[in-house]
């Protein structure tokens, strides 16, 4: 009843091609934006912001980047942690070595550095696919792991291997308190989400999906696989690089290369599988799931009154993650995003059953 499109006619193709063509969706998004930009910073506790919301926002951005490559263009990558690392360390070097470098500039340069590395390690995708490409991307992961540990210029000569940043500000406005950091990250996320959505609903998005669905047919239509794949790697690693910079600067404050190791890569992959491959919304769902689940699992035994020590809880988390991945792949390979859109379909008919 509430969710029908009755009476909403589009008078131009432009109107039909909007991101949110249904009025109720536009209203909902409007309310959501007010909620996340205005209400949350005012009422959320510092714990909520630092432990849940900020990681969620930044990991959503990273998941978004990975989804473009894996979900939209169909190129698997097990090494995206490496691109986050490149973004973080490049941004760090800008910030630490150049006096007075603006934060945004550092982050963007981090993204660009990540783009270069991403395109480089994306070149194999022109010749190899699927599982072979997966192994090749591991090369990126371990190589960058090593570079951050063993090449002194990466960490600007840090003896302990860890680096830290402080005193962040944007155009004079401080980015220090949890609420400020949250808003900054959120602004970056919102901007990139919009740009990404425009890309995937435009010509390049269709090229990516064509390559994903059937690359031989795509070539016959005149789509250049080289251009499509490399742009997917480039855009994906740019976004992930910026996310890496945000992760280091805005969330961690100080970090070691281990923050971007292979576990991080798998974590991102799990996010987009569970959230929904090939869906911008899915990246958010997946990130939310992965960020919230460990906290729920940690707290569950406490709420249920069963004492479990932290080590066992960690092991159980592993088990549940693994089981959930398999579950989603079997039951709903298109992830939570598909469940969401199916629910919306049902909502259109509500209260009628069909």
């Amino acid at each position: 009843m509430l969710y029908r499109e009755n009476g909403q006619f589009k008078a131009s193709y432009r109107a039909d091609q909007q991101i949110f063509p249904i009025l109720q969706d536009r209203v909902a998004i409007g309310l959501l934006l007010v909620l996340v930009f205005v209400v949350i910073p005012l009422v959320a506790s510092p714990y909520l912001l630092t432990a849940i919301l900020i990681p969620f926002v930044i990991l959503s951005l990273a998941a978004l980047g990975l989804n473009i490559l894996v979900g939209y263009c169909g190129q698997i990558s097990l090494g995206h942690g490496a691109f986050m690392a490149v973004g973080a360390y490049a941004a760090y070097n800008c910030h630490a070595r150049i006096e007075g470098m603006p934060l945004i500039a550092s982050l963007l340069i981090g993204g660009l550095a990540s783009t270069v590395v991403g395109v480089l390690f994306g070149i194999p995708s022109l010749r190899i696919k699927g599982l072979y490409l997966a192994v090749a991307t591991l090369a990126a992961q371990f190589f960058v792991d090593w570079a951050c540990l063993r090449l002194p210029w990466v960490t600007n000569g840090s003896s302990s291997g860890s680096v830290s940043v402080a005193g962040l500000n944007v155009l004079g406005l401080p980015v220090e308190s949890p609420a400020q950091r949250y808003l900054f990250a959120l602004l970056v996320l919102a901007l990139f989400a919009l740009l990404a959505k425009n890309l995937v609903r435009g010509a390049i998005g269709r090229e990516w999906m064509a390559i994903r669905d059937m690359d031989v047919a795509a070539a016959v239509i005149g789509i250049r696989p080289v251009y499509a794949k490399l742009t997917a790697f480039a855009v994906s690693s740019f976004i992930v690089g910026v996310a890496g910079g945000l992760w280091g600067f805005v969330h961690l404050g100080s970090w070691e290369p281990a923050a971007f190791n292979i576990d991080r890569s798998f974590q991102l992959l799990f996010m987009i599988i569970i959230g929904g491959l090939g869906s911008i919304m899915g990246s958010f769902f997946g990130a939310a799931f992965i960020v919230v689940l460990p906290i729920v699992l940690d707290g569950l035994p406490y709420w249920c009154g069963i004492p479990i020590d932290t080590a066992t809880a960690a092991h159980l988390t592993f088990m549940i993650f693994g089981a959930l991945i398999v579950f989603f792949l079997i039951v709903e390979p298109h992830g939570i995003a598909r469940l969401w859109s199916t629910a919306k379909e049902k909502l259109r008919l509500w209260p009628f059953p069909h």
């Binding site: 192994v135 591991l138 960690a314 991945i325």
Partner: protein, 309 residues
């Protein structure tokens, strides 16, 4: 020169161990078309089972004979791997028949995480010992040619021998038996094999059990050498470049690929490593595999991949 030979032999031995793990990969891929990311986790699980059961069984049954304990533990661990294979087939593979490779790969990623958590819940997460009586003393060879001789680990020699026997048995199995033929049919096309009456489920259980057996042998040898700990599964990840190099469908490829990677790693670490600041072992195997993929995507002995429209 003696040092070079020692490094070479050391690399060959490590390579042999990688090959053992890679064997499990190749088996599963050959027979079910699945790229089993969880092979490393299986090795770790098997090794943990072996280590713990060899401790527990004497306590439960109240005897002291080490050999008997090891034999029984091996048997129980093998049974455990068969159970794992059965569960995987029942709960995962059965539902993913004929899905794309990527989906299956990601499913095995999920299995990896599950097995790692499960193994540590069941068996604990400390470092455990495996002692199956492999001699640990070193031996010196070629004492006439080089002063002082070249140092080789007897343990490694035994490991190499065991691996060789295992490979021979597996090659025989695939080539000469009806089950082996059925396995190859399944690897080609799940649905087609099913439609001609090959019992897909049973075949998969067999294959994953055999891979589990191989994982157990690999786990015992590795564990006896390094001790059983969590990092074993990371080492096992190295088997991926081995499989790429050798070809996903080739048993001899897994062996040769393992040897190349093992030797390459050791030699590059000693001779090239210092130029870059050391520690290049963590990525050498992968970069080598990557370069190989660009030149010859199917690996040394693999089958050429043809795309049809």
């Amino acid at each position: 020169m003696a040092f070079f030979l020692e490094t070479l032999f050391g690399g060959l031995m490590v390579g042999m161990l990688y090959s053992l793990i890679a064997l499990g990969f190749v088996l599963i891929y050959k027979a079910s078309g699945v790229f089993n990311f969880a092979q490393g986790a299986m090795v770790l699980f098997a090794a943990m089972a072996m280590a713990r059961f060899s401790e527990w069984i004497p306590k439960w049954l109240g005897f002291d004979n080490k050999v008997l304990a090891n034999v029984l533990a091996f048997g129980v661990a093998l049974l455990a791997m068969v159970c794992v294979a059965w569960v995987i087939e029942r709960l995962v593979l059965r539902y993913l028949v004929n899905q794309e490779h990527i989906t299956l790969l990601m499913a095995t990623l999920g299995i990896t995480y599950f097995l790692e958590g499960f193994g540590q819940t069941l068996f604990g997460s400390a470092i455990y010992k495996i002692d199956v009586g492999l001699p640990k003393d070193p031996v010196f060879i070629l004492e006439n040619t080089f002063a002082g001789g070249v140092l080789i680990n007897k343990e490694d020699l035994y490991a190499a021998a065991i691996a060789a026997v295992l490979v021979a048995l597996l090659a025989l199995f695939f080539q000469k038996t009806a089950t082996g033929r059925a396995l190859r049919a399944v690897a080609d096309d799940h649905q087609a094999a099913q439609s001609i009456g090959i019992p897909l489920g049973r075949i998969w259980i067999i294959v994953w059990s055999v891979a589990g057996f191989v994982a157990l042998v690999a786990g015992v040898i590795w564990g006896s050498k390094l001790g059983v700990q969590f990092t074993l599964s990371l080492v096992a990840l190295k088997a991926l470049p081995v499989v790429i190099l050798g070809g996903l469908t080739s048993v001899p490829g897994a062996i040769i690929g393992g040897l190349i990677i093992g030797v390459g790693e050791k030699l590059s670490e000693i001779y090239i490593g210092p130029l870059f600041g050391g520690g290049i072992e963590i990525w050498f195997a992968y970069v080598l595999a990557l370069l190989f993929l660009l030149v010859r995507p199917q690996g040394l002995f693999g089958e050429k991949i043809i795309d049809r429209v």
